[in-house]
């Protein structure tokens, strides 16, 4: 299982998850945009760290998270 993490954004302490671009169960590719978070009028795109299936959304749309937080999980593709 791989974590989808909000990266350090440089001085930003809190972000709001504005959109999940994939649903739980969807297949995702490494580097694909999976979520958008917003802070201070800036949208930042979060990409899938690995390929596989979106296993869980831990922070839903509209909720806040901090850099370093795990907002979702990906079940890695086998083989």
């Amino acid at each position: 299982m791989a974590d989808i993490v909000v990266p350090p954004l440089g001085g930003v302490e809190e972000v709001r998850v504005v959109r999940w671009l994939r649903e739980v169960g969807d297949e995702v590719h490494a580097g694909e945009a999976v979520a958008e978070v917003e802070a201070e009028k800036a949208t930042f795109v979060i990409e899938a760290p690995v390929g596989g299936r979106l296993y869980a959304i831990l922070v839903p749309e509209g909720k806040t998270a901090a850099p370093g937080d795990v907002i979702g999980k990906i079940e890695e593709a086998s083989g």
């Binding site: 350090p8 954004l9 440089g10 001085g11 930003v12 709001r16 504005v18 959109r19 945009a33 958008e36 917003e38 802070a39 201070e40 009028k41 800036a42 949208t43 930042f44 795109v45 990409e47």
Partner: protein, 228 residues
């Protein structure tokens, strides 16, 4: 050494066309096929909704907007509802923030700083208001910021009200802040202000704030010139 940033003046561009161009350039910048650049332009009248926009902040009804030739776009930038139109200077930097060793917070601050310095060049004293991104003269908005970042490469940017048609802002609740109207350099100064002149002052400010060496290129060379 100062980093080089290419600058292209595009003139007046429909929103959708500028958006497509930005997406193409963003893709090229992510692949490092081009260097950092800034597009400066004006839009045809358009209302755009950012990712956290409340559709109720568009006050005019869709038929009335259509009749006036005003387009409405949902966009990926951060922020609420914004009006763009002729007389408003728009800068879209397509830059890799990692190359500047800078984060998101600094970048939004820097775009505000560019507008503050451009306004100051006209003797207009604008300010930041904590918790309300953009720049303000009193309670009225002079400039807006809305940014999109993927792989640390930026899109969208800033919009400075130089000498726009004030009617445009009556169609929306600017940035979702009720009771906060919009103003412009021309209104504050009580005289017309040319967009080309403001464009030059804003890019001078951009060079100072980013510590960049700004090099103007012709629009037809965008995407073909690499930075050494």
């Amino acid at each position: 050494m100062r980093r080089k940033v290419l600058w292209a003046r595009l003139g007046r561009v429909p929103y959708g066309e500028a958006l497509e161009l930005q997406r193409d350039l963003h893709r090229l910048r992510c692949r490092e096929e081009i260097g950092d650049l800034v597009l400066s332009l004006e839009h045809e009248p358009v209302i755009t909704l950012g990712r956290s926009a409340d559709p109720r902040h568009v006050l005019a009804d869709p038929a009335a907007l259509l009749a006036r030739g005003v387009e409405v776009y949902q966009t990926e930038r951060g922020g609420d509802v914004t009006y763009h139109g002729p007389g408003q200077l728009v800068l879209y930097p397509i830059i890799d923030l990692r190359d500047w060793s800078r984060g998101l917070r600094w970048y939004v601050w820097a775009l505000e700083e560019v507008m503050l310095r451009a306004a100051a060049a006209y003797g207009v004293n604008a300010a930041r208001i904590p918790g309300r991104p953009g720049i303000w003269v009193g309670r009225e908005k002079l400039g807006a910021v809305g940014v999109y970042v993927r792989r640390w490469v930026t899109m969208h940017g800033l919009a400075l009200n130089v000498d726009p048609d004030p009617d445009g802002f009556r169609w929306i609740v600017p940035c979702g802040v009720h009771g906060a109207g919009a103003t412009s350099l021309a209104r504050v100064l009580g005289r017309p202000v040319g967009i080309r002149d403001a464009e030059g002052k804003a890019m001078e400010a951009f060079g100072e704030v980013f510590g960049a060496h700004v090099v103007e290129i012709r629009p037809e060379h965008i995407g073909t010139v690499n930075v050494g």
